[in-house]
């Protein structure tokens, strides 16, 4: 049994380390040891699902997930709809908790994205919940809920149009009082599809020659708006998400294959490009939007 230790704090800053561990798992049976998880954000939850699904994809065997010892973390995973999605991926020693009914404080529960109607469902859900959170926690103007929905729509369409494999999306608001002294909204979108290099390869790899890699594919899409479609109207989604995130002084990073590219503001020390990560299928997108500070536009 190959044991993958889940970091105690599993969030946008530690998912690469975690996914690298998953990529290194070389036995057919795997155990995700999550007992010591004290904190998990949407990136962490989706990374757990993606990590488990990657093991299933590779070995055909469902890995086992040891749940966190912290009842708070398990309760939070339950409220985010983690266990509903995890049932088909992991084996559990004990029956995982059912999600409690009643009103939820969650911005966007973990939602599978497979096809066009799922994107509509995501936009519908955030329309009813995001307005109040963006206004009260982030001090964004009333119209921001539309731009926020547009971001989610475009980023989810990346799965439908390019990944050729299902994925998930989730979002939640947090008070980063110690890290940033402000509230943030964290959005995560992950899939196990063919990744940026796979999506763009047939159309653009020849032009790059030996330089063609996960890193150059990410640069081509993220910085230059390249897409596999010859239609000049394509490729705007990620470009415009990047610009909107920048307007809100937020951070966006995308991991695909062995590289992660990002556009980060001064409050985040993530490097703009990381190469040489362990190969992991699909694309993993993280967006963090901070509350407005006095003086922000």
């Amino acid at each position: 049994m190959y044991v993958i230790t889940v970091p105690g704090s599993l969030d946008h800053q530690t998912v690469d380390e975690f996914l690298d561990r998953v990529a290194a798992a070389d036995e057919s049976r795997a155990l995700f040891d999550g007992r010591h998880v004290r904190w998990v954000d949407p990136n962490g939850m989706l990374a757990l699902l993606a990590g488990g699904a990657a093991i299933v994809q590779r070995s055909g065997a469902r890995p086992r997930l040891e749940l966190p010892e912290s009842a708070d973390v398990v309760g939070y995973l339950s409220r985010m709809g983690f266990f509903r999605e995890a049932q088909g991926i992991f084996e559990f020693e004990d029956q995982p908790p059912r999600r409690a009914g009643g009103p939820s404080d969650v911005l966007l529960e973990i939602t599978p994205v497979r096809a066009n109607p799922d994107v509509h469902e995501v936009v519908n859900r955030v329309q009813t919940r995001a307005g109040a959170i963006l206004a009260s926690k982030l001090d964004y103007p009333g119209t921001a809920v539309v731009q926020f929905s547009v971001i989610l729509s475009e980023v989810c369409q990346n799965i439908v149009e390019h990944a050729e494999s299902p994925g998930w999306v989730a979002a939640q608001a947090y008070n980063w009082s110690k890290r940033l002294g402000r509230w943030v909204v964290a959005i995560s979108v992950m899939d196990l599809g063919r990744g940026f290099k796979g999506s763009l390869g047939a159309e653009h790899a020849a032009r790059y020659g030996d330089r063609w890699s996960d890193a150059t594919a990410l640069e081509a899409a993220f910085l230059h708006g390249l897409t596999r479609f010859p239609d000049s109207g394509r490729g705007q989604g990620i470009q415009q998400i990047r610009r909107q995130v920048q307007r809100w002084n937020g951070a966006i990073t995308i991991r695909s294959g062995t590289a992660r590219i990002g556009q980060v503001p001064e409050w985040d020390d993530t490097p703009p490009l990381t190469d040489g990560l362990a190969p992991f299928p699909g694309a993993q997108i993280s967006i963090v939007l901070p509350a407005r500070k006095v003086g922000d536009a």
């Binding site: 066009n116 119209t143 929905s149 729509s153 475009e154 369409q157 439908v160 000049s232 705007q236 989604g237």
Partner: protein
Amino acid sequence: MTNDLPLDPIAIDVGDLLQKTVTSLYSHLVTRQTGRAVRMAIEAQLRAAGEMSLSLIDLSEVTVLDFSCADEVVAKLLQRYQGPDRVEAFFVFRGVREPHRHQIEVVLERQGLAAVAETDPGRFELLGEASTEEARSWRALEDRGLLTGDEVAQVTSEAGGEVALERLLSRRLAFRSPITGRWHALSRLVSHLL
């Protein structure tokens, strides 16, 4: 249809079209697939309108418009009817409020297109890519609503003005009556539909 105008403007409610052609469950214009379905439904209506048409595309009931849909429903729709060999279809977009405006401007500029849009009740703007002369001539026509041949010379007296007006015509951003030769602002021609 009047003696001056060989067309009868039609109003197309995109919110209504979305519910009838795509799904009754959602009111948002998101995803490329949805945009393509809505554009094809608009094109089907235009086929029935004949060789020359003017359509008021109403986005008032649309809450969320993403870039993929804006590209399909605005940019690609316009592109399909550009060029001298195409059916003469003119468009005015209604309900282009602040939450939609950016997406529409981005897709228009990316394709080198421009469109007439009602951005506030009764306020029309030329969105997208237009030269300074085109923008100036369009504004002059828009402010007056209607120009006769003599008036064209007055309002386009600056260098390039008349050429710009012709260019607006070829880009389907202004209408010239083939009967009287008078120039019409598109907004004026759809005013009875607002």
